[in-house]
Symmetry: C2
Subunit: 108 residues, 2 copies
DNA sequence: AGTTATACCTAGCATTACTAGGCTTAAGGA
DNA sequence: TCCTTAAGCCTAGTAATGCTAGGTATAACT
């Protein structure tokens, strides 16, 4: 359904989903599905490389956590740079969406 | 400014810009710039290959026109299939934008 | 013991917009 | 006349990025 419209916006989605929490990859996928109202059901092959990319870019930090039951998880949280980037990307999205809305003649 | 967020939405932008008119490439670029309120200033290297792609896909039809003054222009208009596709893409955009808005926590 | 859900990962692919060039014709100024 | 600028079209190659399809491991449930 969300073929590849997401291109260029995935980073914002990931940063916003993690927000002030510390989430692991699998939980992020579920959170995106829930928060988007089912619009986005992203495969692991999309999420994991993207998280690595964002960590490499210094926007995310990760640590391994061993929960009481279950296997080890890699948990991600925003760095200061990531928080700043999220603010920018939110503004960027609004600007972009406004532009598209105008051209498509939708949503006033 | 519109780095490559556009990915996956350019086709909708082109179809909507042409709409019920018959426009040539150069005019399309200017129309997008105007209608988007300056948000999108797309280079020719983006527009022309995209128009060819859409024509190949049967969503656009083109013909050469010789205006009184000036050189020949290639003028594009929507096919029936293109009109149908535009309707779908408009709906697709709204669905997509709603999903992103929810995740980003912006625009209600 | 086998299946399912959780949880992580990667190589390779396909799509797509952009960069950077090139070509032609007409108009306007020096 | 010559030169520059704008209008107008095009393409080869590049870079980015999300997805497909595969693999691995652990825990819980049947």
């Amino acid at each position: 359904m969300s073929a590849e419209m997401l291109k260029g916006h995935l980073d914002a989605v990931l940063l916003a989903t993690i927000g002030d929490d510390a989430l692991h990859g699998y939980a992020i996928i579920e959170a995106i599905r829930a928060r988007s109202g089912g619009h986005f059901d992203l495969p692991e092959g999309t999420i994991y490389p993207a998280l690595h990319r964002l960590e490499l870019a210094g926007l995310l930090a990760s640590r391994w956590v061993q929960p009481d039951g279950g296997r080890k998880r890699r948990v991600y949280s925003l760095t200061d740079s990531g928080r700043r980037s999220l603010v920018e990307r939110r503004a960027g999205w609004q600007s972009f969406a406004t532009g598209i809305d105008r051209v498509l003649g939708a949503r006033a």
